[in-house]
Structures are given as structure tokens and as C-alpha cells.
């Protein structure tokens, strides 16, 4: 399975994402730069975490308007799988590829800790290797992960099973509405989540709770 990782100035989790994809898919992902207008033929495009463009204006706002994101939108429209983690999630909502917005954490503090996530929908291409309702662990590290959507959008997300990951057991680190940690678009091929599953894929990380997400999305054997 071929993958590509989007690179933008200010991202800092790109090497973690490249390492995870290399280990799980068995081959190194292609990398595409912010000014690239074409993305090679791949099965999965990942937008890593970090602080693209210094979080200026709003997190992900400038990155979302870079040429490479038009190419990502074209691929997403053709059904290519897209994952945005942390800043990548913020970029996807700013680009309009996912609904809602990510606001400053309600505590106003940067949170860097481990949380628990409930698999709110195990019937997606990103979660099919998990059990419905399963609780997994995942690291988070962000200042703006407070997911918000208006009532109508929220009702649609909940009704259509587009809420995929939810903070569980009182571990919501940012005040996000309905404890939302990750959502998919209406077609189900674009996922955005604040937690970092790429940082929990092998024993050296202290666990592999995040590995099944990539195995699901890449369609590779566990």
C-alpha cells in the first residue's frame, strides 16, 4: 500500500508519521511539499501534526490555503483515503474537507498527556480493526483541540455515525463538544483526529493501541 505525507513549514510530527507508515505499510511514504500541485498515485495521504506557519491567524488556516491542499482536496474527492492528525485535523477543517472548527482548549493550557478514546464507530475504513465501543489509549499534545460545530452540523455528525473517536472515562483534555476526538467526512474517506495514534504503534512506545487505525486505513494484515 502506497502512502504520501504532506510537508509544511512548522510541522514537527512528520518524522513520526513517516516512521509509523513505513513500519506498518512496509514501504516509506512519498513526501509532498506545500507548493506541490500534484500528489503521486497513493492509497493514503497523511497530514501530520505540528504548528504549520506558527499557528498564525488560526491553527491550520494558512496551511489550508497552500497549493498542496488543493491537490489533497482533488484526491479526497476521488475517494483517496486522507488522515489528518492534530494540526493535520485543524488544516482539514480549515480547508473545508471536514465540518466544524477547532478552538482554543477550554483550560487555555497546552495539554500533553495520555487520554482514553472510545471507538464511537467501528464501521469505518479507519476503525474496522477495532471493536465497537472499545477503549484505547492515545497520546495528545495540543493547544487548540476544542472541537466545535453548530447544532445542525453536530446532529448530522452524530446521526450519520461520523463521530469516530470520543474521549472516554472523563479524559476529555480540551472541552470539545460531545467529547469529540475525531470525525470523518460524509463519504467516510477523510478522517481528522486530535490524538496521535502514530505515537503508539509498537512496544517501544509503551503500547500499540494506535496501530490498528493505520492497519485499517492501509488494509494491511495485523
Amino acid at each position: 500500500m502506497k502512502s504520501a505525507v504532506v510537508l509544511l513549514p512548522g510541522l514537527n510530527r512528520d518524522r513520526d508519521m513517516i516512521a509509523a507508515l513505513t513500519k506498518i505499510s512496509g514501504q516509506a511514504p512519498a513526501t509532498v511539499w506545500q507548493t506541490d500541485t500534484e500528489i503521486p498515485d497513493v492509497d493514503l495521504i497523511a497530514i501530520p501534526g505540528g504548528f504549520s506557519f506558527g499557528d498564525y491567524l488560526r491553527c491550520g488556516a494558512i496551511a489550508a490555503r497552500m497549493p498542496v491542499m488543493r491537490a489533497v482536496a482533488e484526491k479526497a474527492a476521488k475517494g483517496v483515503t486522507v488522515i489528518g492528525v492534530c494540526n493535520g485535523f485543524q488544516i482539514l477543517v480549515e480547508a473545508g474537507l471536514l465540518p466544524g472548527a477547532l478552538m482554543r482548549n477550554s483550560s487555555l493550557k497546552f495539554v500533553c498527556r495520555q487520554v482514553k478514546l472510545e471507538i464511537a464507530n467501528a464501521n469505518t475504513m479507519f476503525t474496522r480493526r477495532y471493536q465497537p465501543g472499545q477503549i484505547i489509549r492515545s497520546p495528545v499534545a495540543h493547544h487548540d483541540g476544542n472541537y466545535f460545530a453548530d447544532a445542525e452540523t453536530l446532529a448530522r455528525l452524530e446521526g450519520e455515525g461520523q463521530v469516530v473517536f470520543r474521549y472516554a472515562e472523563g479524559t476529555n483534555p480540551n472541552g470539545s463538544i460531545n467529547d469529540i476526538a475525531g470525525i470523518v467526512n460524509d463519504k467516510g474517506n477523510v478522517l481528522g483526529l486530535m490524538p496521535h495514534p502514530e505515537n503508539l504503534i509498537e512496544a517501544a512506545h509503551g503500547g500499540n493501541d494506535g496501530r490498528a487505525l493505520f492497519e485499517s486505513a492501509l488494509g494491511v494484515a495485523a
Partner: protein, 79 residues
Amino acid sequence: MKARITVTLKNGVLDPQGKAIEHALSGLGFDGVGQVRQGKVFDIELTATDKAKAEAELTAMCDKLLANTVIENYAVEIA
């Protein structure tokens, strides 16, 4: 031509930064401070001379970049 764009949070959107400022103001002894909502101001210089055209352009700038209309409102003012 100079323009000022003010971006504010929509009603109903929680504003933890505004809340923190509100608490800090009461901590400084400013009694009688009600709700505080924070926002952003952009001062933009334009070479355009046609006011209507400038206004249309500034509105487009807000929709495309300066405001996130999911959570924010904006107001355009031309000096």
C-alpha cells in the same frame, strides 16, 4: 485607501480567552465587568480607489481567509 476588519466570535460560541480576561479584570478591581468577548482587528491598506469594489474585495478576503465563518463574524469598515 485604509480599511479595518473586525473579527468576533459568534454568539453561542464559547470563548475561554474572553472568560480569562473577564476574571483578570475583576482581579484588578474593575467591578461591574460583565461578559468579555475577545476578537481580532486587521488594518489593511489598499491601492484601490473605488470604495464599492474595495468593499467587495475585503468581504471576499474575510470569507476566504481572515475569518472562520463557522465560529466567527466579521465587519468591514473603510476609512
